[in-house]
Structure formats: structure tokens, C-alpha cells
Symmetry: C2
Subunit: 453 residues, 2 copies
């Protein structure tokens, strides 16, 4: 770098992770007299709240993703690195990347969470979760492939299993997936098949607690359950999944045990901290919670390490309330902005009071015209909640062209019930579904098709 | 099927392949008194002329794809099957699918072509071609990953190889790819990197003939070459690729042999017939041409098999001209419509004169505001040709919502030079580029990242 000498003397901030927390910290530091390096394994920021719409064929991955370099290109103090942090050394103030290392003065860790199978990681291939673009495309492939396989299946029991969709977990993601799949089966795809009747599809939403959307007020859970039932979703509460094997879900409700043959099983049940949690525990002595999140100080730093911050889903912050803050985008955004401001204040010898989350409410969508909104004193459901949901999501889409495209897609879908992105893609989409003699096999991933591609 | 008895007595048309030829045949037969089955390995029709815009990060796959079921859902006489034809039996009038078979009265084969490496199939992993959505996403991944790797590379020679893009083949696809990559490097990405200068990228277009766009009139080839040069593309004509190994392209121009180290090598040089060509040769005695295409009769049937038609890229049709018709969408569309009309006429005991291609001209785009159009007597280049190209392509996009989205994306890109779909995705995008000691390795596809996803 030509201006290396000047930069050497600048305060170096390294941000690990380009999700909501890391990105908003970087944006807030864009005009500060610091040198910023944002490290992410992916070259784009993903608007995760809309990922289920990729999984169910409404939006394309690019509609809800923005290249990190593009977002930050005007911030000349900021470098984006497509790389991965594999370790840190707090005494040397260094992060170790793959094959290189990088010094920092302040470190912000925002690497988020991944799926949690509660000790049953072997369920993962059969019941994929939804965190990455690849996850969403895999879900999309399975959902649409299931209808295709059912269309060709002649055995009624096997056909029923292809038309059974089990969603494990009744939180916002599970509710959104169940609602979207119900709309697909009962509305969008209704005219598209000749031998199956897609309205015979069964969509099951399983939740361990006594109601869906447990973090919401009970009356909104109730409204959501009513809306989902009207859409055709079967809800089972107080129901625990005890096994997933050979495409059969074993569900336990009190003493009753049920075996549900289902070719499509989607996991929306739990999260665990990303691997950086363990790294921080080992290198800084940070305390982790039950799912591996880092318990942070009131200013989001790690105890004893005032220049290392953990924000977003990876942080366990329980200072403003007894329960930790939820793993949602607004918390991560506010934490990213707070830490960026705190860094600027500190460079001026100042400080900031403890982080305070300003809760604007939470929203979950159930289907066309149907959503629930918990805005503190105001609890909404139905079309108004749905419109608030739409505008809140469009507002937070990071780039203007994404806002336009998503608005247009939604507007179009709203009036036509069409869904443009119903593609079955990926290497394994080139092959046929092989229904074996047991009836519950998954699509094979070996293809002799090569020659005729 | 409830109305099976009625359908049994109907004339059964089986169409293999849902590209331009197969789809337009199916559409034309939608109201005819026949029973239509359209078989494709994919669940969507792909608008292949715009695939290079997916490969270079302008459009998303869903923008140029439409689910076949959706397009044909109103044609109640038509069934779509996601399956593959592995063999045919003309004496029994049957096609063999994977695990089942299907009888036909008339068979239309429209399975197109794939890449041709002229006996060097081992070049394929290093120099991928562009036929499928997966091909395009792989090209996109390689192009954007190359800039990322260059940004991290400290060795100037290795960095140069990461910033060298070789496109083999100067036909329309090669020209379009070269122009789009030049615009990326010299315009779109200019502000996005900190250690590299993307305008130092080298884009090489290699063509074996004495000019690019050989099927076009020489003056348009000349115009195209001038426009590409202005964009920053280096064109080498009369240049043959004799080897591709360890990410070095060996190019021979007359006696001069050059070795070009390049991490990104894209193949746009040749096509060969899909596997159905060989199947037809074996089962019907059809004659194939040099690249395996089926030589068809004036009415597009196979000699001696009046109820088997071959249309689109797979057909070698040389009755209206000495040279066979080119493998372009308008030929396939007109052939699909012709065969559909011929089937209807035959059911009424009538016939049709030989197929005649109505050539409306050909278009190739070079970059923003730059294209060449050969409209018979009228030869255009520059902004007007570019606008004709835009409108011709939007007009032929099969569904209205795709038209809207693509128009919006293009309009937005036109005024902002932004590109929304610059995502590096796919399993192998989760890992880092490992530059080995030789300097020319490709990204590894094994990732220890799993835990922190």
C-alpha cells in the first residue's frame, strides 16, 4: 500500500463475520480514523430473515444477498478479506487466517450460530437446516423434487410419504417455512400436476413447547396457529422428535409415540454457537452458555479483554433482562453500531454507557396477507401485520437494487400467486429420484446422465 | 387417470427435451386433439442466450428460467415428466425412461448439444463450458474467486495469473463472455479492491479462424473486434489451443507457440450432439454428422421413420442452404412449431411443405451499448444494435414476470454499472483458495470449515 506508513499508525479494527453485526459495525466505522478489515468466508452479506423465501421458491439468492465489497467500496479505510479466522492470539493481538495472520488493536467477533441437532448430528443429512444460501437451495431442491417424485410414484403409501412435509421447530423460521409450503401445495402448484393432487399434501409443524412462536405473547401464538391451520398446516405442540431414520420421523407427544413417514423433513429447531465461541473460550477464558454463545460484559466485551467484543447471535447478553437477548437481526445491528461508536469514543478518551437494546418488536409471517407482529403494547395479526412485515424487510435490505427486485417479485407474486424461482438445481438435481423397494429412499447423487447433458 | 379411456384413443406425442424446440412444439400442441408428454431432466426451461449474464453476475438463474409445469399448466392435454430417456424402441413405439417406459405415436427428439473439447475431455475441469445453470454458477464462482485470490496474493507472477482470463472460442458466447468480464474488471469492480488494481486484468479471447464471430459478415466481425479492443479485450485470431495443463494455456499462432499462465480459462469453442444422437443412430439407422447431430429429412423426420422428428440443435438440417442451419434459438423455435403443425395436419390427413427457416437475423452483444446485428441487408453495430438485442431477448423470455425482472435488472445495471448477482456460491465457495507452491492450483473442495458454518 502506498500510504502504508500513515496506516501503520492508525488504530486497527478487525471484524470477523459480515452478517448484520459485523457489517453494521464496519459501516459505522467507515468514516472513523481507524483502519478496518472485515473478514468473511463468503463474499456477500446475506439477508437471512428472507432465506426461507429462497427455500420455498419465491426469491433468488442474489435478491437477498449483497457483495460485501460493493457495500463497503466507498469506505476507503476498509478492506474486505475473503478468508477464515481459524484461531486468535490475544497476547500478540493477532488473528490467524488460513495461511496468514493479521494484527489488530480491537477485535470484533460476529460469526453467528449454526444448526443444533441436540446431539443427533446424524439427522442432519435427512433433515437439513436453513442458515446458508446452499442450505436454502438444498431445501428448495428437496421440496420441489418431492412433488415431482410423487407425480411418478404409483404406490399410494410411498406417494403419501413424498407428499408429507415435516417441519421440526415452531419458531419463526418453522412457521414461515410451513406457511410457505402450504401455499405452494394448496395454491401455487395446484394446476401443475396431472396424476397427483397437490392439495392432498400434508404439512406438519412439530413444536416441543405448548405453543408455536414461544417467544411471542400467547395471543399471537394463538392467532398464528389459527392462520396456519386455515392454510392447511397441521400443528403438533408438546411434541418431541425422538428419532429420524429412513425418512421416518418418530414424534413423542406425552406417552403417545407416532411414526411419520415423510420424504421431506426440514430442521428449524435449534442453534448452537459457531466455532469461534470455543476459540474465544480457550484463548481468552470467556464463559460460554449452554449452546456455546459467549457471555459478554455490559459493553459487549469479553471479561478481562476490553479490546475484544462479541456481537450478534454469538453473544449471550443478559444485562438488560434476565433472559439473553434473542438472536435476531435488530439486536445484531444495534450491537454492531454500539461497538463501532464505543471504539470511536475510546479513541477520544471517552466511553459509552452499557449497551441497551431498543426493541422495536418482532414479526413473523405465515402466508399471503397473514403475519403476526408484536410491537410491545401493540399486538397485530392479519394483513396489517403482513404489510408491516413487508416494509420492515424491504427497508432493511441493504442495497437499493435488491429492494426494487424484491418489491417487484413480491408485488408480482401477490397478484398472480406465481413463484418465479421454483428451480431444482445443483449437481444432484440432474438425476432422477430413485424410489427403492423400501419406498423411502432419497434422491441418489450419482448420475449416468453425463453424456447427454 | 379418470379419463383414461378417452385418452387411450388419442394420438400420443412424446417430446424429449424442454429447450426452445421441445417447449414450442408442446405449446403449439396445447390445444390440439393429442395427448402430449414432455420429458426433461430439469424442471425448468432455460433461456440459454442469456446464460452468460448469469456466469458474469448480472442475472440470477431464476431470472432466465421458467418451471416447465408452470408454462404448460393450462394445457390440460399435456403432462410434464421430470425424467430421462435412456433408450428408444421404434418398432414398439416406446421410449425407455429410468425405471419405466412410455408409448408414443409420434416422437419429437430435442435434446440439444453439449460441449466439445475436440478429443481433449481432460481439459474440461480446468476450462469449463457454458450450457447449464450449474455451468454458469461455476463460471461465476471462478471469475469472482479469481479477483479475491489476486487480492490476497503477494507474488506478482501468481497475481498476474489470477488476473488473466482466457476465453477459448470467438463465437457469440466467447465474445459475450469476454466483453462482460472486461466490463467487470475495468468498470464494475474498479473501486472494490484495496491491494490489486482490477484494471490490470488481462482478458484474452482466442479464436482459431481469421476473425471473431465467423458466421457473421466480415464488416461486423471487424466492428465487434474494435469494440472489444476498446473495452480492453485482447483478441488473438488464427490461434489454436494445443494444450491446457496446470492452468497454463498453450496457444499456437502459425509457428509461434505461447504459454499463457491463467487461473481462469473458459471454454466457448465447440459443441457436440447429446447422447440421444447415438441412440437414434443405433435404433433408427439415422445418419449423424461429424459432431453427432442427426441429419434430418426436409420435414425434420428421420429417413424411414416418418413419426420420429429431430429438431433444434440436435438436428442437422441442410435442405434450404448448403451449410446446416445454425444452432440458435430461432431455428429451434420454428422447427418445434413446424413439427407441431405437421402433426395436426397429418391427423387431418393433410401435410405441409418442407420446413423453411425464416431468418430474422442474428445478434451478439459486446458490452454496455455495444452489439452487432446482422439483419440480412441491414448490418448494425453500436447502441442501436444493443437496444435491438435487449428487446429481442426480453420479447422471447417466456414468462411475463421474468421479462419484468430482467428489464429492471438491466435498467438498473445500465444506470449504475452495478451488478447484483456477484455471489460466490456452491459448496466449494465456502473454502479458501489455496495457492500451492507451484502457484497455479485451483480452489480446493475440501473444507474444514464445517464446524463454524
Amino acid at each position: 500500500m502506498a500510504d502504508g506508513a500513515e496506516k501503520q499508525s492508525m488504530h486497527r479494527v478487525v471484524i470477523v463475520g459480515g452478517g448484520f453485526g459485523g457489517l453494521y459495525a464496519a459501516k459505522e466505522l467507515g468514516r472513523a480514523p481507524v483502519q478496518v478489515t472485515l473478514i468473511d468466508k463468503r463474499n456477500f452479506h446475506l439477508f437471512q430473515p428472507l432465506l426461507y423465501q429462497v427455500a420455498t421458491g419465491t426469491l433468488s439468492p442474489a435478491d437477498i444477498s449483497s457483495p460485501l465489497r460493493g457495500i463497503l467500496s466507498n469506505h476507503k479505510n476498509t478492506q474486505v478479506l475473503l478468508d477464515e479466522v481459524v484461531d486468535i492470539d490475544p497476547s500478540q493481538q493477532k488473528v490467524m487466517l488460513r495461511g496468514s495472520e493479521l494484527e489488530y488493536d480491537t477485535l470484533i467477533v460476529a460469526t453467528g450460530v449454526s444448526h443444533h441437532y441436540f446431539g443427533n448430528d446424524h439427522w442432519k443429512p435427512t433433515a437439513p437446516g436453513l442458515k446458508t444460501v446452499e442450505d436454502a437451495l438444498e431445501m428448495r431442491r428437496r421440496i420441489f423434487m418431492a412433488f415431482e417424485a410423487a407425480e411418478k410414484e404409483t404406490d399410494p403409501n410411498k406417494r403419501k410419504a413424498w407428499l408429507t412435509f415435516v417441519i421440526v421447530g415452531g419458531g419463526p423460521t418453522g412457521v414461515e417455512l410451513a406457511g410457505a409450503i402450504a401455499e405452494l401445495a394448496y395454491k401455487t402448484l395446484k394446476q401443475d400436476f396431472r396424476t397427483i393432487n397437490t392439495t392432498e399434501a400434508q404439512i406438519l409443524l412439530l413444536e416441543g413447547m405448548d405453543r408455536i412462536l414461544p417467544p411471542y405473547p400467547p395471543e399471537l401464538s394463538q392467532k398464528a396457529a389459527e392462520s396456519l391451520s386455515k392454510l392447511g398446516v397441521t400443528i403438533r405442540t408438546k411434541t418431541l422428535v425422538t428419532n429420524i431414520e429412513n425418512n421416518v420421523v418418530t414424534a413423542k407427544q406425552g406417552e403417545a409415540v407416532e411414526e411419520i413417514p415423510a420424504q421431506t423433513i426440514l430442521w428449524a429447531a435449534g442453534v448452537k454457537a459457531s466455532a469461534m465461541g470455543k476459540v474465544l473460550e480457550q484463548r481468552t477464558g470467556a464463559t460460554l452458555d449452554r449452546v456455546g454463545r459467549v457471555i459478554v460484559e455490559p459493553n459487549l466485551s469479553i471479561a478481562g479483554h476490553p479490546n475484544i467484543y462479541v456481537i450478534g447471535d454469538l453473544a449471550h447478553y443478559a444485562h438488560s433482562d434476565k433472559t439473553p437477548l434473542p438472536g435476531v437481526a435488530p439486536v445484531a445491528i444495534q450491537q454492531g453500531q454500539y461497538v463501532a461508536r464505543l471504539i470511536r469514543e475510546r479513541l477520544n478518551g471517552q466511553s459509552l454507557p452499557a449497551f441497551q437494546y431498543a426493541d422495536a418488536g418482532s414479526l413473523a409471517v405465515i402466508g399471503q396477507n397473514k403475519a403476526v407482529a408484536n410491537l410491545g403494547h401493540l399486538k397485530l395479526s392479519g394483513p396489517l401485520a403482513w404489510f408491516i412485515w413487508i416494509f420492515a424487510h424491504i427497508y432493511y435490505l441493504i442495497e437499493f437494487d435488491n429492494k426494487l427486485i424484491v418489491m417487484l417479485q413480491w408485488g408480482w407474486n401477490y397478484f398472480t400467486r406465481n413463484r418465479g424461482a421454483r428451480l431444482i438445481t445443483g449437481e444432484s438435481s440432474l438425476v432422477q429420484v430413485n424410489v427403492d423397494s423400501e419406498g423411502y429412499s432419497v434422491p441418489s447423487d450419482k448420475s449416468p446422465v453425463e453424456a447427454s447433458r
